[in-house]
């Protein structure tokens, strides 16, 4: 009895009423409900998969496989996490498997990243100020230029950094949803996010150095 109540509480806390209603319709296998689910979350899932695997065709396949698996297991879904986390987790698992099979999974080298960061300080103070960026901060850059910078910066990052940044900064998932989607603990997420933001700053800094300023100027031409 206690377990049943606990499960019901967990379900209530993880899902909104609208999600619970949608889940019921999915479990009844209503085509319109599946269409609604994919119309609502499909574009973001494909964009996420593309950022992780780096290939549009493969991204579509990964999301397709994830949806088929979700459809097969819909009766077993108890709503212990949000529908969004559940969808991202299905895509994440398949994307990671595919990257590992293709030997394209890039692991985080925590020791090296932390050592590189520590090298920037001496006794807790900056050895040298971070170099300024060209074409940004002072002159706000637009979406087209941002896309060019991010397209080059993201692939420099380890797989998990890209995932955490995408789910947190772009999709706006909360910490619980990200932990559910990626299967990591809150403490691990905090460290991952900290390192990922640091790495993103570094990767964008490389893009917005003097060479990147020239590329941005060419984009304008």
């Amino acid at each position: 009895m206690v377990l049943v109540l606990l499960r019901a509480l967990l379900t209530l806390s993880a899902m909104t009423n609208a999600e619970a209603a949608l889940l019921e319709r999915l479990q009844r296998d209503e085509p319109a409900a599946w269409r609604q689910l994919l119309e609502r979350h499909g574009p973001a899932l494909v964009a996420y998969a593309r950022r992780i695997c780096g290939d549009a065709a493969q991204a579509e396949e990964l999301v397709q496989d994830a949806i088929v698996a979700i459809h097969g297991g819909i009766d077993r879904f108890e709503g212990r996490c949000s529908v969004k986390s559940w969808l991202y987790r299905a895509v994440h698992n398949r994307a990671i498997d595919a990257l590992r099979r293709q030997r394209r999974f890039v692991d985080v080298d925590e020791a090296r990243e932390d050592a590189d960061w520590a090298d920037r300080f001496d006794g807790g103070a900056w050895r040298a100020a971070p170099p300024p960026w060209c074409g940004s901060l002072d002159q706000r850059i637009d979406a087209k230029r941002a896309l060019a910078v991010v397209e080059r910066a993201l692939p420099r990052l380890p797989t998990q950094h890209r995932e955490v940044l995408w789910l947190k900064e772009v999709e706006g998932l909360d910490a619980v949803e990200i932990c559910d989607a990626l299967g990591i603990s809150p403490a691990n997420l905090r460290m991952c996010l900290h390192r990922a933001r640091r790495a993103l700053q570094q990767a964008v800094a490389l893009e917005l150095g003097s060479a990147a300023a020239e590329a941005l100027t060419n984009l304008e031409a």
Partner: protein
Amino acid sequence: MSPRCAAILAQVDAFLDHERGALERLRFAAHLALCPPCDRYVRQLQEARRLLRLAATPSESDLAAARRLAVAHARPREAKG
């Protein structure tokens, strides 16, 4: 610059995510006001996040793929029904 920069920046996520109390946020902001390197670094972190969001709109190909998936997944059961 101060010997506290590294320790202050270890807390940057709480500052960016508005997780700390007003007093701690004030302390963080006060350090940034007095420390140009930390201020520049935090601005660059914020700018990198902004660029990521700016570039995040699903592309035409993402939207087309999602439409194909939605249609393909609903079609067989609609035919049955």
